[in-house]
């Protein structure tokens, strides 16, 4: 488990519009990498190209290379479904399946990928919910709908659902932006624990969060409206927040941006 990602010269397009240009970065296994930057700078788009979710949007395409442990995930022989099994994703808004119970939500990935014996499913569901710090809260109501949980619980349910399929990498697109501080803390603790087994990439607008949870931080910026976003720099989080190489990074972090 836990693989590295190498991105080289990645550009992302929506139709003819170039949203992100020339991104190259390396993500180490069992580390947390945070992407920060202003809205529209393409950090979410970069995240979505890492597991080929980007191409789900009509008209969206990309160029460049994304290597998962040395294997190009954009090579023509690669099935995007297999890529997404290896690289899971948690979204900005909690999106549990409304027709499914808590149990079925967690088991969804496994069930929808193929049949598994019930006992094995039970084990995986419990393990995933425990890993997501949700087991104690829901163990007595696994057959209730997942949509009935609170926002923070729903997001942890979505994380449990994502790790139930045992991906190599977990991508998180602003996972706490719709949550209160206590739920946010619960999820940050969770990220800290998950780091032991997974490679995690997180997009966040909360710079304190990036400083708290990540080992490395990448700063994205765009020159202006209609211009493509770029990766300005990526370095150890400590360094980015104390002594960044680029002036733009320092301006953004200290709030002097724009």
């Amino acid at each position: 488990m836990a693989k590295s990602i190498d991105v080289s010269d990645l550009s992302i397009y929506y139709g003819k519009f170039c949203a992100v240009q020339g991104v190259s970065l390396t993500i180490e296994p069992r580390s947390v990498t945070a992407f920060i930057g202003p809205s529209g700078c393409g950090k979410s788009s970069v995240l979505r190209t890492l597991n080929r979710m980007h191409e789900v949007v009509p008209g969206a395409w990309s160029s460049g290379k994304v290597l998962l442990d040395g294997e190009d995930i954009y090579s023509p022989s690669v099935d995007p479904v297999n890529v997404r099994r290896a690289i899971g994703m948690v979204f900005q808004k909690p999106n549990p399946f409304p027709t499914m119970s808590i149990y079925d939500n967690v088991a969804a990935g496994l069930k929808l990928q193929g049949r598994r014996p019930r006992r094995e499913l039970d084990e995986i569901v419990e393990r995933s919910l425990r890993a997501a710090n949700l087991w104690e809260e829901v163990k007595d109501r696994l057959e209730r709908p997942g949509a009935g949980l609170s926002g923070g619980q729903q997001q942890r349910l979505c994380i449990a659902r994502a790790i139930a399929v045992e991906p190599e990498v977990l991508l998180m697109d602003e996972p706490c932006s719709a949550l209160d501080p206590i739920s946010t803390l619960a999820i940050e603790d969770l990220i800290e624990q998950l780091k032991e087994h997974y490679t995690i990439v997180i997009v966040t607008h909360n710079m304190q969060q990036a400083a708290r949870v990540s080992d490395r931080t990448g700063f994205f910026n765009l020159a202006g409206v209609g211009q493509p976003g770029r990766l300005i720099e990526i370095d150890n989080t400590q360094r980015i927040f104390s002594n960044p190489a680029e002036k733009a990074t320092e301006d953004y972090i200290s709030g002097r941006f724009g």
Binding site: N51, M53, V56, P58, V81, N82, V83, R84, R85, A86, G88, M89, F91, K93, N95, P96, F97, P98, T99, M100, S101, D104, A108, G109, K111, L112, Q113, E143, R144, P145, C158, R161, A162, V165, P167
Partner: protein, 355 residues
């Protein structure tokens, strides 16, 4: 004017100077206006040629609307007066829209209700003369149920697959073409669908009229309704659910089958029931394709088969009161059948939901 001006309960004692509380109409005032409107109507009717209860009700309603708005304007001001005017108008429009529905139901129950009994529901009209009482519409119930079931069996899968194609896969000119033809099909008059099947089935293929021939025409009518409603329901499923499923490494077809369609099921069921109701009440194609019989025929594939709308049409066209009463009774049976199917489908959709 003292009955009109009253401070809002709980308003501050400084209400004279408060800018937050204003004069409101007392609860009893509107009742007074209503009584006044009825009185004015009575007065007006002595001078004008308006008569009959429908005219009186309409006039009283109009007088009430004007009176209420004017008094509200004088006491409460322009915004409240407009609010009351529009609120009353919306309720009036609702009542007006419900009127035909209520009237039809009332008339059908009044004229046909007395006929409904065990015999009527379990016997056919075989050997029942025009002036005989007795007999029933069992042959029609069997025919209508079989034809509607067969039509559903053919159209629901076709229509749902079409809708799924249009929403999940369809891009470019072919999808636009399919959408266009679905729209055209929605507009096809039922008699034209009937004539088309008559031409193909009876004239070209030389086959006999039967329940199944009618079923084919009903299918043409049902498919576009179900496609359209299913399409709209599938579009309402948020993309975030599809993405959540893709992100788990679930293939697209399984995502559609296990996430998208189940999420849209309540709406899809409603659409299907609209289609079934439309098809069960359809008469024109049946006139061409069912053939005529007053006997029970369980086999829709051979020989003429009756249907409830056909019985209504046939019996209502006869001069004797016994037949006309039977027409009302058959209409009532048809309405109740559609209602029961609707309730049943809803209960099923509700049962399948996670609680």
């Amino acid at each position: 004017m003292s009955i009109l001006k009253t401070p809002v309960p709980g308003a501050s004692t400084l209400s004279g100077t408060s800018t937050l509380s204003g004069a409101r109409l007392r609860r009893g005032t509107l009742a007074l206006v209503a009584v006044g409107a009825i009185a004015v109507t009575g007065l007006l009717e002595t001078f004008t040629p308006v008569s009959g209860w429908a005219g009186s009700v309409l006039m009283a309603a109009a007088v009430y609307l004007v009176g209420q708005t004017v008094i509200s304007f004088l006491v409460e001001g322009r915004r409240h007066a407009l609010d009351r005017l529009v609120t009353t108008a919306v309720y009036a429009a609702f009542a007006l829209a419900m009127l035909p529905l209520g009237a039809v139901l009332f008339k059908v129950v009044q004229r046909g209700g007395g006929l409904i009994n065990g015999t009527f529901l379990t016997h056919s009209l075989r050997n029942i003369g025009p002036t005989d009482t007795g007999g029933g519409v069992y042959h029609g119930i069997v025919g209508t149920l079989e034809q509607a079931a067969l039509a559903s069996l053919i159209s629901i899968p076709l229509a749902m697959l079409t809708a799924i194609y249009l929403v999940e896969y369809g891009r470019g000119w072919f999808a636009r073409l399919v959408t266009f033809f679905v729209d055209v099909m929605t507009g096809v008059p039922s008699i034209v669908a009937g004539l088309f099947i008559f031409t193909v089935w009876v004239l070209m293929l030389g086959l006999n009229r039967s329940g199944f021939a009618a079923t084919l025409a009903l299918t043409i009518l049902m498919i576009p309704i179900v496609v359209r409603s299913t399409e709209e329901m599938l579009k309402l499923v948020p993309d975030s659910l599809r993405e959540a499923s893709y992100a788990l490494g679930v293939p697209k077809w399984r995502t559609i089958l296990k996430v998208v369609v189940p999420t849209a099921v309540p709406g899809i069921v409603t659409g299907i029931m609209l289609g079934v109701a439309r098809v069960m009440g359809e008469t024109a194609p049946l006139l061409l394709l069912n053939g005529f019989t007053s006997s029970i025929n369980f086999d829709p594939f051979s020989g003429p088969q009756a249907a409830l709308p056909l019985i209504v049409w046939d019996q209502a066209g006869r001069p004797n009161p016994q037949s006309i009463t039977r027409a009302w009774g058959s209409a009532l049976v048809l309405i109740v059948m559609v209602l029961l199917l609707n309730l049943g489908a809803r209960a099923l959709a509700r049962l399948s939901r996670t609680r």
